[in-house]
Symmetry: C2
Subunit: 260 residues, 2 copies
Amino acid sequence: MEQRKPVILISNDDGITAPGIRALVEAVKDLGRVVVVAPDSPQSGMGHAITIGDPLRLHRSDIFDGVESWECSGTPADCVKLARDKILHEKPDLCLSGINHGPNHSINVIYSGTMSAAMEAAIEGIPSAGISLFNFAHDADFSVAAAVARIVAIKMLGQKMPPHTLLNVNIPNVTAATYKGMKICRQAYARWEEQFDSRKDPRGKDYYWMVGKFMNMDEGTGTDVEALSDGYASVVPVTIDFTNYTTKSWLEQEWAGSNE
Amino acid sequence: MEQRKPVILISNDDGITAPGIRALVEAVKDLGRVVVVAPDSPQSGMGHAITIGDPLRLHRSDIFDGVESWECSGTPADCVKLARDKILHEKPDLCLSGINHGPNHSINVIYSGTMSAAMEAAIEGIPSAGISLFNFAHDADFSVAAAVARIVAIKMLGQKMPPHTLLNVNIPNVTAATYKGMKICRQAYARWEEQFDSRKDPRGKDYYWMVGKFMNMDEGTGTDVEALSDGYASVVPVTIDFTNYTTKSWLEQEWAGSNE
């Protein structure tokens, strides 16, 4: 009796030609039927954007040898939505997004196109993980990150995951020799302190470039930022229920009766 | 001794000329110093996108009588970031986003530009609320929603809110006579079932329009979807810590030891 091969959907936000997605495809392509649906251009910082006011395009690509792949004119979340309806016609067993050039730890989960593809899959009930490497260089070495992605994929395919499992996996910029392993973490409380760089265009008008300074405000332990700085890969399970139950209890007490 | 007037930052995702933001400005402009920083064009479905690859523009606007206002070329999240650094030079006491044409209940919080402005403020420690009306019509009557927004603003300015308070407020499409009040809710588990409408362009090539069907999969009570269908305004406190602590415990047990 032949076992059905698991279907693995791969996307990213750096675009289909980025080296990170190639490393990811190579790392997992023997684990099942891999299908790539990725943006045709970089989509970094797109958060969970979806395209509702413009039509979407989808083109077959042949850039991955022996792996079905498509490039899409939309955002990472669009890619996952389109893959499900127009390409796979079935629910994949796993969705992987990445490998991103640059980390998506802590609050970056909310700005990240990489994580938005994974989140879209999780909303649809597909176990998923976003994989990001703490290295912005275009010639970054993805080998450790690819090995971690493979371990994560094998684990996620090998057991029944909790409903709507969505993992935010970040890999430190280390070599195989200095890599310490994975740590299950919570999201650090951190934010970007924006300073906008003001400039004048050739017509004398002001414009601004966003330049942010990352601020880790978290003084506790067990965070993704801490794990990464200690040389571990951080694995943060991410929720799709955004209710703040602590504040909900507070409001129920404080605002009761006065609302109607 | 003169009391300092609270500073209220207002943004939205439908753009600065939308009737919803006008209704919001009118509803709260006597509660403090109101400053509007809103996109110069509609940004619906932008999720928590930020603009990192393009410069941003900011122009003074005079469309609100007696209220300082600015239009920005970026996303709702960009507006809040720029407002803080280039316009206010101080932390506002409250950020309001909306009033959106159309609801942002349940999972829509993640796709919503309206909520992304409010979420950006909450990340920065500014108490904030996104306000949305369950009515897509351009000539929608915002009067009930504006009254609710005013109540929420007065409450949020009048007491010390928990850290990073972020409220997702949705108002049903009712009249003042049939409006039942506010309910503190949790986010319903729901999703969009996408079907992409396939078409051929004049050159015979395929393109796709996203058309989704909203599916409420939540069988429990106390959700925002339930409150809205019962004629209440729903108030869901939203977290900025996206860690799924239940799955975290599961992973700590199931994946322990095997990671290193």
